[in-house]
């Protein structure tokens, strides 16, 4: 009896002292409280509300009617919805495939220190400063088949009906997205490239490695974490693309570029079917979360391996 009581007392003492040192060494939960409250209020609460809305039938008039899972069953039998998910994924994959190599090359190039590079980088950065709406309006005018670039370069564009076919319209969306967001990802790679220890390159030079080998065996592996960060941002951005679609194609021709985010808007705010709109929104959250998790898992980012490891 007494010995047990003593052990318990000792344990308690240890716990207390452990907690005590913790409090001194690391900030407690209280530090995270404001951010957590904001996150709950502006992210979790709306998310729960959207989840509830996805089970009602509501046109904005009167009170919502409980609709069970009917919104969801309708969605899974809706060819436009299935097509829109596929188009969202396609747009995202094409976006990553186009933007990643371009931003890596420009980013690594811009990581140099000559003065002209700084100036060029600054000019190159301009598209990111414009709003997506302004950019879409600008490109619409530039791509006008009768008065824009295609009318001056018939040998390349033919009739100029870029936005009138699925392939053409998707191509324009990918291009405009890349034109706008590549500078941002370039910035990430530029920062990451500048953080690579110079000794690595000096050692490689002594070993007789050329520029290409240096790039492939030092730069690329060292950019790994930056690449994952940038790709997750691209995936989330790609899945939620909206403004360019709204202005450039309006989901057309037909429903050929009706991606999920735009379909959600169309259902909720043009068709006044807030139940179905919410269901699409929730579906997008789930899909984006799954894809992000997959990217993190495949890349090994979750193990948080140090960049300096193995130097």
């Amino acid at each position: 009896m007494t010995s047990i009581a003593r052990t318990v007392a000792i344990r308690r003492g240890r716990q207390r002292s452990a907690a005590g040192t913790d409090r001194v060494a690391r900030p407690g939960f209280a530090w995270a409280l404001p951010a957590t409250v904001f996150f709950l209020l502006f992210a979790i609460v709306p998310l729960v509300l959207v989840a509830v809305l996805s089970f009602v039938s509501w046109g904005g008039l009167g009170s919502p009617q409980w609709a069970g899972v009917s919104n969801w069953t309708k969605l899974f039998h809706d060819p436009v919805m299935l097509q829109s998910l596929w188009l969202s994924l396609l747009l995202t994959v094409l976006g990553v495939a186009v933007q990643t190599p371009v931003s890596i090359f420009i980013g690594v190039w811009a990581a140099g220190y000559q003065r002209n590079r700084a100036v060029l980088s600054a000019i190159y950065f301009v598209p990111l400063l414009l709003s997506a709406t302004a950019i879409s309006v600008l490109w619409r005018a530039l791509l006008d088949p009768n008065f824009g670039i295609p009318s001056q370069a018939r040998w390349l564009f033919g009739s100029g009906n870029l936005l009138g076919s699925q392939a053409g319209a998707m191509g324009v969306l990918v291009f405009v997205g890349a034109w706008q967001y590549t500078p941002f990802h370039t910035l990430i790679y530029q920062g990451a490239a500048r953080a690579i220890p110079r000794v690595l390159y000096q050692a490689a030079e002594i070993d007789g490695a050329g520029r290409v080998r240096q790039f492939l065996h030092i730069t690329l592996p060292q950019l790994r974490n930056a690449m994952i960060t940038s790709m997750i941002l691209m995936v989330v951005g790609g899945l939620t693309t909206f403004d360019t679609v709204l202005i450039l194609t309006q989901g057309g021709p037909g429903t050929d570029t009706t991606i999920s985010a735009y379909y959600m808007y169309r259902k909720a705010f043009q068709g006044f079917d807030f139940g179905t709109g919410s269901a699409i929104a929730l579906l997008l959250v789930v899909v984006a979360t799954i894809i992000s998790l997959v990217v993190v898992r495949i890349s090994g980012y979750d193990k948080m391996r140090s960049m300096a490891e193995g130097v």
Binding site: N146, N161, P253, G254, F269, Q270
Partner: protein, 416 residues
Amino acid sequence: MGLAACGSSGGVPKQATSGSFHVLVYGDATNKVEQEVVAQFNKTSKVKAVLDTIPGADYQAKLQTIIGTQQAPDVFFNWGGGSISPFVKAGLLLPLDDMIKSNPKLKSSFLPSVFSSAEVNGKSYGIPMRGTQPVLLFSNTKVLKSAGISQPKTWNDLLADVSALKAKGVTPIALGGGDQWPTQMWFEYVYDRIAGPDLLQKALSGDKSAWASSDSKKALTVLKQLIDAGAFGKNYDSVKFTDNGSPKLLATGKAAFELMGSWDYSTLQSISPDFVKTDLGYGAFPSIPGGKGDPADVVGNTNNFYSVLKTTKYQAAIAKFLTLMYSDQFVKEQLSIGNLPTTTNTRQFISTAAASPAYDQFQYGLVQKAPSFALSWDQAYPPSDSQPIRTAVQQFFDGQIDQNGFIQAMQSLSTS
């Protein structure tokens, strides 16, 4: 809500003798006139009117979200027809028949074809305001002359014009297919000319077999003939009206015709005043031989309307406010900014007050003589249908769906 909904007339209208009621309108340049009307009303009334505006692009969505709540206005702007039928169904709107009974001029002062487009289930729910917007066939007379043709009177004229223009290397008809609703206008007219206005009415009332009728199929065949003749060129889906793409084609002579609402006049004026002055032509939509529809029929937006909410406490004051919509002052002010009001007294002011008397005279005659003024399909159907209609229309033009595909798409619409 259901209790008050049934038409129990005879009761004393709810009226407060002080306070103010809210008038909600689509925010744009026309607000200038509405502000003056409200100011004029407030000069003599104890109950004051307050004008609220919502920027155009957001108007319909915002209206729908507030109309069932405490923030709902007393009087609001709309397009009649399908744009108010969900509100009527929800029991939110006040039938205006009692007001009209005590002041018949609220109805008799307006052109009947216009007034009737805000009637739902035989009851009046709107008083016309602003101007009428019929769809016309605009043309570039210089291009027509150089191709040796004139404004087409019949469908065969139009087909002949198309081949003459193509031989000249000009796009026969400018079309803002990227917006989809300009494409829809071609369907509206061809259907009306071939089947008459009854087909749409039948379809709207829930009889979906109308879309599969032989008239419907004939209309689609005729349209297909025009598309296949190359009347619209190859790249119309990359062109929009809303960014001035198609009007610019007409104004610069790269195209000969454009089918567009009467607002195209002011759009063209802003792009190229010289073109409007010297080379702008306009006419009614061609007749189609053998069709059941009257060649004098018109489609478009009949007008905008003021509707009244049932919950308002100011019925008496609002009844007085609405009488201003047919006042001489109102008509003159609308004409001066290019709108064409649909009151019976409009004609006498056109030559003195209008921005372009000849054009307004033509429009007015067209609307006055029209046996039927059909609402745009996407306005006549409930809002949830407008996107499926526009998609089907575009897909048929592009050949992505055939006759049967189009009929199926129209049959799957919900009717209210």
